[in-house]
């Protein structure tokens, strides 16, 4: 539930966000894109500002099982929903199997895109565990990696998909 207060002409709201299984209350302009709240108010490293236009995927988070672009999602629209960022999958010590697949395949260069690549693949395979290689490629076609680690990234995703199917 949001409590709204007027302050110096701007509308600020105290919103409750559930991120990676933890609750946070944040005091922000409800129109603020979710990305800014995650990376600045909560200090998360996963979601990244790439374009701010919904074009590249760097800011991807999973909300209600869907990969969404947090740069173009007002924070107020996801208050109360379960939000997962790349941090929420696994840790260095205990990586999620998909993260592990990326490490095994050495499928990252600068890693700026990794958040969007991994979360987009995760959300898709969660909902479509039997997806074919072609369908996975299609699902990834809106995500950009300018280091062009594409071949290894697709190999990592396929490796994980195989594990999911098995």
């Amino acid at each position: 539930m949001a409590r709204t207060i007027e302050r110096e002409g701007s509308v600020m709201s105290v919103l409750n966000l559930k991120v990676n299984g933890r609750s946070h209350s944040v005091d922000v302009d409800p129109a603020t894109p979710l990305l800014y709240v995650l990376s600045d108010d909560l200090g998360l490293h996963g979601p990244k500002f790439g374009c701010g236009l919904g074009q590249c995927g760097a800011c991807t988070v999973i909300v209600g099982g869907q990969a969404i672009r947090s740069c173009s999602t007002p924070v107020s629209t996801v208050a109360g929903a379960e939000i997962t960022t790349l941090e929420g999958l696994g840790t260095i010590e205990k990586p999620h199997p998909l993260q592990k697949a990326f490490i095994e395949e050495q499928a990252i260069q600068c890693g700026f895109c990794a958040n969007g690549v991994i979360l987009t693949a995760k959300a898709f395979l969660d909902r479509n565990p039997k997806a074919t290689e072609e369908q996975i490629r299609q699902a990834m076609s809106g995500v950009l990696c300018r280091c062009y680690t594409n071949t290894r990234m697709m190999a990592a995703i396929q490796r994980y998909a195989k594990e999911v199917r098995a």
């Binding site: 110096e8 701007s10 894109p33 700026f112 950009l144």
Partner: protein, 788 residues
């Protein structure tokens, strides 16, 4: 509010120490358990470090340091801390450098802690660019030489301590023992732990021979990768310092527009706004939160003069070719080219065009600056911490010794993206408010004002004799440039520097070109097939003796600067496409025709290896029996010695051309590379794969556009690149290891050959020649209709 503390990173205690601004190297080392003494930046900028292999390398190398303690410290527990000035940009050099240190010092990989690119901690190694990190730090100089000196010194001291001759000692895991009596031993920690070496790097120190390597030369996993995959890595975009504010800049609406007035009232009362900052034509806003800063920057009313006006994009290449004044350079001129062309049995001519392209990092550039009380600390993704320190000092008007630049990896840059300019932005805004300020550019500000890759026009002519030998080659090109890396003195080489009043490097017209005094092929302008004879010395790789390579540089409309394989990529597109046209005119197999005109064994070897791996069937192009409709398949070859001395590469591309739509699908790329001794085979493959695919994107899709006032390529819709997903070719790499040769670069070789290999494959498939990048469906269709 519940704050997450996620700043784990891969060297936690050290990163924490580093993040405390203005920590001294001495304090920092104390905190990290390593040792520091005698750090000196007063390295002799001289030859003793092992002279770089080319003039290009020299300007990028920095002064280095002649003090061993500047590079290597050994703690009491025997752990090794090393300092280097070549930064990790996603290319894997951090891991390769760690392998090198572990190898030379014979300690396990995980007992080495490496710090890179911090002007308070690491030696000045200039700029991490030009595919020069491998040659600089892995040959007989700099980091490698420091490691070799440390090992020799430790062995000498152990020999004295144990009373055993040096050649009777073995080293294992940082412990030196007598071969004959392993109980006679002493550890590195016991020898120097807690104390400085206090000696100079020894120019004669011997590297471990490659035949003895157990860490270097073997596939090593990237150190940062687990942190990157789990979001515990700290990119510069994630740096947060206490009390930090957020800034946004307001760039001019048109090229050349200047500020008339700024109406600060237009943002008065907007939430969080702290200050509007105007300095000459630099305009920015500082606010408490990033979203507030962005809103305010969008609302701020600035009146600008009209721009200078831009020539039409549609006729740009005519403009480029005819622009005056020019700066002319002859790479080689045998003075008999016209005569030889005149007497040739056949003359082949072709003109090629290459557009402005951008780095287009996925993440827009970002920096955090803390400028207070006459001192500045800047966290920057720059490739050049020391040069940036010096130009930041100019921009801020303070002595360089008061500026510290700390490198933090940003989004992959592939050359000079917005990293340096945003560092100025953050520093200027921080100086204006006296508090730390973070700036991350908008997508548009990144794309509209970055330093693009050079556009080129080429005229090529070759004469062929009756036996099908090339007897003369004339290469003439026109390209545009403005600004570049700021170096140590020229902040005006990037947009923010200009906006606050610094000029870009002066354009020095020169015509006609003076005669060359040596064969300097650092831009790979001369094709590999010429003899490169200048003043009696023939340093080219091929057999064609009648040769002229003439270039004309003009002033660019837009900022330009190094973009992965700068100029070499464009030159190789024109040279290797043209070589194919000549082979076709002589009705010869493109691979055999190349080999016939080469005499450099290493370049010939990569061509042969790629052809073999791709099952190349020898025959002339285009393929026989072409049908003029439907999907046509073909293959093409291309090769180069990158920068004249910095990495051999050859590529075979296989493509399918849809002759109805003009669409080109790249199906397979086979690459062969020889960059001397391989440091990390898997890292090398990763670089080659990425470069190859980035090359496909640049070849098929990328071109900067503009209208009569401004750049119109401002996001991924108006500058569409290759995304993840369907269109990825199979990429195969053949690595040729040369353990006894010099280490060369590998980050930029593969991308250089892509455009020509694809163009040649399209020709092989269809008989149509595409001579303008990018190979859009329209251009391919036009070439198809132009077929005889």
């Amino acid at each position: 509010m519940n704050r997450l503390n996620t700043r784990k990173g891969w060297t936690p205690e050290a990163l924490a120490a580093l993040e405390k601004a203005r920590v001294s190297r001495r304090d920092f080392i104390k905190g990290s358990g390593a040792l520091l003494v005698g750090f000196s930046m007063a390295g002799l900028a001289g030859q003793w470090l092992g002279s770089p292999r080319s003039a290009a390398a020299q300007s990028l190398a920095g002064a280095g340091s002649n003090q061993l303690d500047s590079w290597i410290a050994i703690a009491a527990d025997g752990n090794v801390t090393a300092y280097a000035g070549k930064c990790e940009l996603g290319q894997g050099i951090f891991t390769a450098q760690t392998q090198l240190i572990a190898e030379e010092l014979t300690v396990p990989f995980d007992r080495v802690k490496l710090f890179v690119c911090d002007t308070a901690l690491t030696p000045d190694q200039g700029t991490t660019s030009g595919a020069q990190s491998h040659p600089t730090n892995f040959n007989q100089g700099n980091l490698a030489l420091a490691c070799a000196t440390a090992r020799e010194t430790l062995l000498e001291r152990a020999s004295a301590r144990l009373g055993v001759p040096g050649d009777q000692l073995v080293v294992s895991d940082g412990v030196i023992s007598a071969k004959a009596d392993p109980s006679k031993k002493v550890s590195y920690g016991e020898l120097v732990g807690g104390k400085p070496f206090a000696i100079r790097v020894n120019p004669g120190a011997k590297r471990k021979p490659a035949s003895e390597w157990t860490v270097l030369g073997k596939p090593a996993r990237r150190v940062e990768l687990p942190a990157l995959a789990t979001a515990s890595f700290e990119h510069v975009q994630n740096v947060r310092v206490p009390g930090m504010l957020h800034g946004q800049v307001v760039r001019p609406p048109a090229v050349g527009a200047t500020v008339v007035s700024v109406d600060e009232n237009s943002v008065h009362g907007l939430p969080g706004v702290v200050k509007v900052v105007v300095k000459k034509n630099f305009v920015g806003v500082v606010a408490e939160k990033p979203w507030q800063a962005l809103q305010a920057a969008n609302k701020l009313k600035v009146t600008w003069t009209p721009g200078v006006g831009l020539p039409s994009h549609g006729t740009f290449y005519e403009h480029l070719r005819n622009q005056k004044p020019t700066r002319d350079t002859l790479v080689v001129d045998s003075k008999d080219v016209e005569e030889k062309l005149g007497s040739s049995a056949k003359v082949v001519k072709a003109t090629y065009h290459y557009p402005y392209q951008m780095h287009g990092s996925v993440g827009s550039s970002c920096a955090v600056a803390d400028v207070q009380a006459g001192k500045a600390t800047v966290w920057s993704p720059t490739q050049a911490v020391y040069p940036l320190k010096s130009t930041l000092a100019m921009v801020l008007g303070m002595p360089p010794e008061n500026v510290r630049v700390i490198f933090r990896m940003g989004s992959g840059c592939y050359g000079i993206n917005g990293a340096d300019t945003v560092s100025y932005d953050a520093a200027l805004l921080s100086q204006a408010v006296g508090k730390p300020v973070r700036v991350q550019l908008t997508r548009k500000d990144e794309m509209a004002w970055e330093n693009y890759g050079f556009p080129f026009v080429f005229d090529q002519r070759a004469g062929v004799d009756a036996d099908g030998n090339i007897v003369a080659w004339s290469h003439e090109s026109w390209f545009a440039s403005l600004g570049s890396r700021p170096g140590t003195t020229t902040p005006g080489n990037v947009v923010t520097g200009l906006l606050v009043g610094f000029e870009p490097a002066e354009f020095k017209a020169r015509t006609p070109a003076p005669d060359p005094t040596e064969f300097d092929n650092r831009l790979s302008a001369a094709p590999p097939y010429v003899t490169g004879c200048v003043n009696g010395k023939c340093e080219g790789l091929g057999t064609v003796a009648s040769q002229r390579v003439l270039t004309h540089e003009v002033r660019s409309l837009f900022w330009t600067g190094p973009l992965r394989a700068p100029s070499r990529l464009q030159n190789t597109f024109a040279n290797e496409s043209f070589m194919d046209e000549v082979a076709a005119a002589a009705q010869q197999d493109p691979v055999a025709f190349r080999l016939r005109h080469l005499r450099d064994p290493r370049l010939m070897e990569v061509v042969k290896s790629a052809a073999k791996a791709a099952n190349w069937a020898a025959r002339p192009s285009p393929r026989p029996g072409i049908r003029r409709t439907g999907v046509a398949a073909g293959r093409g070859v291309s090769c180069v010695l990158y920068g004249g001395d910095n990495g051999y590469v050859a590529m075979i591309a296989e493509v399918e051309v849809n002759q109805a739509t003009g669409g080109v699908a790249v199906k397979r790329l086979v690459l062969a590379s020889d960059c001397g001794p391989i440091s990390n085979p898997d890292g090398l493959r990763n670089q080659m794969e990425g470069a190859a695919l980035q090359g496909v994107s640049r070849t098929l899709l990328e071109e900067v556009t503009w209208d009569n006032q401004k750049v119109t390529s401002i996001d991924w819709k108006t500058y569409p690149p290759l995304f993840l997903g369907p269109d990825v070719p199979k990429i195969e790499t053949v690595l040729i290891n040369q353990p006894n040769e010099q280490a060369m670069g590998a980050g930029e070789t593969a991308i250089s050959v892509v455009a020509a290999a694809i163009a040649n494959a399209i020709f092989d498939a269809t008989g149509a020649r595409v001579r303008q990048v990018p190979f859009t469906p329209e251009r391919v269709k036009a070439a198809l209709s132009a077929r005889a």
